[in-house]
Symmetry: none
Subunit: 144 residues, 2 copies
DNA sequence: ATGAAAGTGGGGATAAGTGGGAAATTTAAA
DNA sequence: TTTAAATTTCCCACTTATCCCCACTTTCAT
């Protein structure tokens, strides 16, 4: 399980160090994808294959579903860590997530998320505001 | 599994580089076909044969189905990569997909898609608008 | 304080994408 | 049938991006 929040920077060559704590669990084969809320998701390959299989099994007849599947699959990239544990972030994904130099890498259960630092801070603030409501929901599902 | 999004250009001789990442998996024998939503599909030969078989197995009773199947099968061309990994796009397919100079080549699970850049950008925007619905879908299938 | 590990930065080799000339082939026209 | 035009194929060259390697700095733990 991935846990923790790290502040890293993207260098002039579009490289980003994956926090060393995560590298072992990620394994050698990694998939970087378009995530939710303007973030990117990083999965170990096996985990991603589970998702890709489900996506590809959705009915291709409906235009909306087709578009969705297309966006998710085309928005994914199989990438590799370089010798020093860095990844190269493709242009279209960097654009999608509005990544600038400072980014946040967080562990979220079965994946990592990559956020632009400012978006992350804004998102956190917004979520904290809703904390009370969230607490209620959590109670409902029997957490805590 | 084909994944990713690449921006390439068609040169004055109607040639298009296939992203090198895809070449190995495509193999030597390739089929280029009229796709859905004004794109072209590119399949490894074996994969295409599977699909052609499915298409031809559809009930031919309904005129609409018959027409669709005919269009898909008739629009297919077997093509080859040149020494540098480029394909030559036949006139009628280039016209169908409205390809200009800048095109996007995407990996979508078992095929590649070729889009005119502007059409692709417009399509992405349209699909992204439905992000909320998409997120719900994601929850439904247990992805993420 | 010291050593080891992690993050950051950059030079240079290699590969990929792009463009164009010229030979070879095909098509059309005379 | 021959000639001319157009298209395709093969080849080579240029530019840009990616990969590999090394080195410096910072952080953390001993």
């Amino acid at each position: 399980m991935f846990l923790g929040e790290y502040r890293h920077s993207i260098d002039t060559k579009k490289r980003l160090s994956v926090p060393s704590k995560f590298r072992r669990e990620l394994g050698g084969s990694i998939v970087l994808t378009r995530g939710l809320d303007l973030s990117l998701f990083l999965y170990p390959r096996e985990e991603w294959e589970r998702i890709a299989q489900k996506l590809s099994a959705l009915p291709a007849g409906q235009a909306a579903t087709r578009g969705f599947v297309r966006l998710m699959l085309a928005g994914a990239e199989e990438i590799a860590l370089d010798v020093l544990g860095r990844i190269l972030i493709p242009e279209h994904l960097r654009t999608y997530a509005r990544l600038r130099q400072q980014v946040i890498v967080t562990g979220v259960y079965n994946r990592l998320e990559i956020w632009d630092e400012q978006l992350w801070n804004g998102y956190k603030k917004k979520v904290e505001k809703d904390a009370d409501m969230l607490a209620e929901k959590l109670g409902e599902i029997g957490a805590f």
